[in-house]
Symmetry: D2
Subunit: 361 residues, 4 copies
């Protein structure tokens, strides 16, 4: 991408037949905005993508936006590079089945979440249902085969909060940023519920953003003002799928957890000692990371200054640092690194998922 509205590489691939537009089921990407409330690079990319696809498919941009999840994280701090991953699937793939199965993807949309429900336990349960639906869509029967669940969840705008109060419903928080964190929390705990990572009874209104011992090792949640239902992308390995790719994941216990990065790669037979070589790097198809500045202001033995910086947002800080670490191990800056990891991996840490092709014989 030369800029957030640049879809020319995808256009080329559709035009030359490398990608069939009707097989595109989801897009996950990083754009070069600030990743905050006033990051419009996500909207610009989405508008550009949907306009492009509508020229190739018999559907309007709005119809496509309702059908194809496009989940973006803003912020390419440091060595991170703007990029997007296009997920395609088809029924008639003629690859041979592989031992242990191959990368599977499933999509689901929940029904709309009411403003009064957002960020509460009922919201988590809606998300859990949608995750289960996406697992069915992916043909993944067992939760252990799920390795990454990307969620986009609605949030509470000032206008929605006012409308709810007019009907006598108090939203979980009147502060839009805080409400967005609650929405991410509900999304993450919904994934944890569906994957059996937390017990049903543990997911309560009170647990949200409070009981940080509850988390999913495989949830990546963003929250957006532009949607009213929950969009779910489930990625895992399935014996029913063929194709060259497999996926693995690890929890990251803190921002220095290089072991998790190396471990996830090792699960796919990739040896970073200390960095992937050219052959190994060529197998990488996508790297997805969630992270969070440690909330007591410490990284292991030392004080960090991310939370107190008035000039650089803490999420921009942590994306830059964790992005630098993961890119250094991989040997490439095209890494999806997203902040706001509440209940997504251990508190103060996060998680990593890697998609890689099989070794070439």
């Amino acid at each position: 991408m030369a800029h957030p509205g640049d879809l020319s590489e995808l256009d080329v691939r559709i035009r030359n037949g490398a990608i069939r537009a009707d097989r595109i089921v989801a897009v996950i990407g990083k754009t070069e905005g600030n990743g905050g409330v006033n990051d419009f690079t996500r909207g610009y990319f989405t508008q550009s993508l949907m306009h492009l696809l509508s020229t190739h498919l018999d559907a309007s941009p709005a119809e496509l936006a309702a059908r194809i999840p496009c989940i973006l994280s803003g912020g390419t701090e440091g060595v991170l590079s703007p990029h997007y991953v296009v997920f395609c699937r088809c029924e008639d793939d003629d690859n041979d089945a592989e031992d242990g199965g191959a990368l599977a993807i499933g999509i689901a949309f929940s029904s709309p979440t009411a403003t009064g429900e957002i960020g509460r336990a009922v919201h988590a349960r809606q998300v859990a249902d949608a995750v289960r639906a996406a697992m069915r869509d992916a043909g993944i029967a067992h939760v252990d085969d799920v390795h990454f669940v990307q969620i986009k969840t609605p949030c509470i705008t000032v206008a929605r909060a006012e409308a709810a109060r007019a009907q006598g419903v108090e939203p979980v928080s009147g502060d839009p940023n805080r409400a967005m964190a609650y929405a991410r929390a509900a999304g993450a705990l919904g994934v944890a519920l569906a994957l059996g990572e937390v017990e049903e009874g543990a997911v309560t209104d009170a647990a949200m953003l409070a009981d940080m011992a509850l988390y999913s090792e495989r949830a990546s949640v963003s929250s957006g003002v532009e949607i009213s239902c929950n969009e779910v992308i489930v990625l895992g390995n399935s014996p029913h799928w063929t194709g060259p790719y497999r996926i693995a994941h690890r929890a990251m216990k803190d921002a220095l957890d290089i072991g998790a990065v190396v471990g996830a790669l090792a699960d796919l037979g990739l040896d970073a000692a200390p960095q992937l070589d050219e052959t190994a790097l060529a197998r990488i198809a996508g790297v997805f990371v969630k992270c969070e500045p440690q909330r007591q202001g410490r990284v292991r033995a030392s004080r960090h200054t991310m939370l107190d910086d008035t000039d650089i947002n803490a999420q921009r800080h942590v994306r830059g640092a964790v992005g630098g670490l993961v890119a250094g191990v991989i040997g490439d800056g095209r890494i999806f690194v997203s902040g706001g990891a509440e209940h997504q991996g251990p508190d103060g840490g996060g998680l990593i998922a890697v998609i890689a092709g099989r070794p070439q014989p």
Copy 2:
């Protein structure tokens, strides 16, 4: 450090006898400002340090500032942690001599550099002479035994430029930031000259900031308005020294060069696979890194966005990313990471030096 004026930990160590104030010969540290022209955390730390030392020594703060180099890099982006390294030396150390020698330190101050000389070849030669003097002070005879040279060089303020022009002398640049980069370039090529890394004839006025194939793998240069001569700290290993520490270094070819980090550690018998364990980490006494955003806007195969970001300075970006990588390998955020690495390591990369204690028997 709780804040840039907090020297309480040093005060405690001086009071309890762990450190003798009269043995302090240099301080290198990172403070939590923005690292730019308007970063006053460096001045605040220096003022606090010199006031503290003047309560323990029979000298005024101003006298101490002229005697003890205090070289600070502002900016603790991401996981980096504010910290300082205090270098002490004494003649009567009763440690036994070690095979291969031990960490040696030498200090030198050049005579003042005239405004019209700053950033030019004559400036580099002054620095080279000062480096040779510091090597003699350190008792290091061979350039191969030098592993890190920290320089602080004067720069050209608007006032100095005007004064020079009034005398008919045109400074190397009228833009203070550009002039500062020239001053760093002269400092780096001065080190390269003294260490035999470049040929005498190659260091010309025209080569400064232009011939990026010329560089030192061991120079770390900062430039400050508050000084008029060049301050030099040479660190190396010397058979004439005893003590628990040794130093190693590597060039970093780019911001993803994790191999250089692992390599410098390996030179000291430290195994990061992928991270130092607790015992190895306990041996680390100091990590010093220089880095620079690649100037064509690329990190290996991909576009980076550091140079085009109007909201976060490119040096802040790169310090955060490289700091995240090095801290991840070390397992600690107390890393000195400094930008502005012109002619300090390969273009678009930089260098790393590590000081570690010997293994405990």
Copy 3:
């Protein structure tokens, strides 16, 4: 505008007949990005605008973009509010002619400026020709009747610079930001030439960004990578035009020049003592301001810190301050305030133009 892609208010007005889409000849607006190289809110707005217009007109977005100048300034610091001004014109307006004439608008596009010409005197002369063409298009015969000229000029990207060098042509500067400033300088001096504000012989290559005594009091120039020719919008008063609006302008001698603001309003019969009242404010149709941080770091008697701030770009600083002043006099935050005012108004100052409707009887 709720966000930079929000054209809903224009859509409503086109749908309800308040605005005829085929009468739209130009759009000038402010979007809420950072106003720098990585401000994509301008591209997002333009894409959204052209897509909207293409649904109402028989032309593709690309065709419309080549026909309708859409000139945006990013950055709504402080009290500034995102907004856009849509200029419409028609031949068959049935308003009665007014004494002294009415607001007139003319558009022109120059032929493409070669990379080697950008930012040089030949570029200024191309712009001057285009300004004269736009004056003819506006039906304005006398330069005194021109009050504001908005220019968008091509600039030199890294790619264009390389292509030029491959043909043996050295661009005015290899630094994209510096080249952009040269392009704005050429645009401004082109306006100054066309309006007789500077003498023909004074506009030389050497004068660009150097002889700051040369300037236009009526030029507002932006520079964009996406165009190859110069786009010109001339605004003035013409006896041949009818309609409710008139325009006035003043030079601002520095960022505190409140007298210029009050003076431009007074020229239109608007009394700010100290602020426009509700009736007067209702007459305001557009306020356009150019400004610049004073380059010696001083505002009158005092030091300012805009140029040394590593965390906030100097143009963001000055837009916020001058925007606060002008909005306070007007009583409204919908002010177009743009930085980068080289040769546009006195050095360290800038200019203001105001469009207002006639008083209601």
Copy 4:
């Protein structure tokens, strides 16, 4: 000031006898940091000031810091200029008494505020008592003669919160930034109580940061981690004082309220039409402003973007805009403009106080 540690101008005035160091009772200033949690320019200035004064007075820096309130606001956005105002008083002033009295200053320190009390109604009452004590110190009997009350109040650090909880006391908020806002609220309502601007019964725990109809038109509150008691500076006019200065104030109803600025000047016989002329400007001795981004995201008819900007802190935005307005009316950038104006002036607005000398005959 050339930088935040530069007290050379004060040193000169003490040395040449223009200022007697033992008459200095308070300092209020603006330094060029970011004004946030990680703004260390305030500590740097204070350390430098107290070291300077200790060389002129028989007291240690720490003793002086406990006796002389030094209240700083960080952030000189836009045209604002770093500066400080030194308040001196003496008993034996030989100026003749003036009609209507002259500027009077009083200082008071409260007893320490317990962590559990900070930001609550009991805190406001402590402040009110201290304001009354400072009024007595100033010899001001009537609340109408008070025009500006500068407060520095302790706040709740993470460490203090933990210590309080260990004793079974829950602080008003666990979020340091939120707790700081509560502390400012208590300080402001304490002033309002002492000056009779709100009723005794209205100041409750629940009213803090909630009932924004309660405010003082004369309170300016900052909150600092380094103090445990409340420091109060009362400024007013008193018939018992002589000297050349008088003070006036106005509430500002929003960030565009230029009328308040012009009004406060008019109260002192200064005519800004639209700007002070040279003679009038020479009479200005200090301008003090509090302001706040409107919390619904609107300035009058229009949306502002200050609260949603991830890259520039909202307080930096609003200081730049309001500073630009006030500096434009005054004709000078040496204006004290401070954010965080909860309950200090009308909600979404703030207040202004001006100290001016009498006209020269």
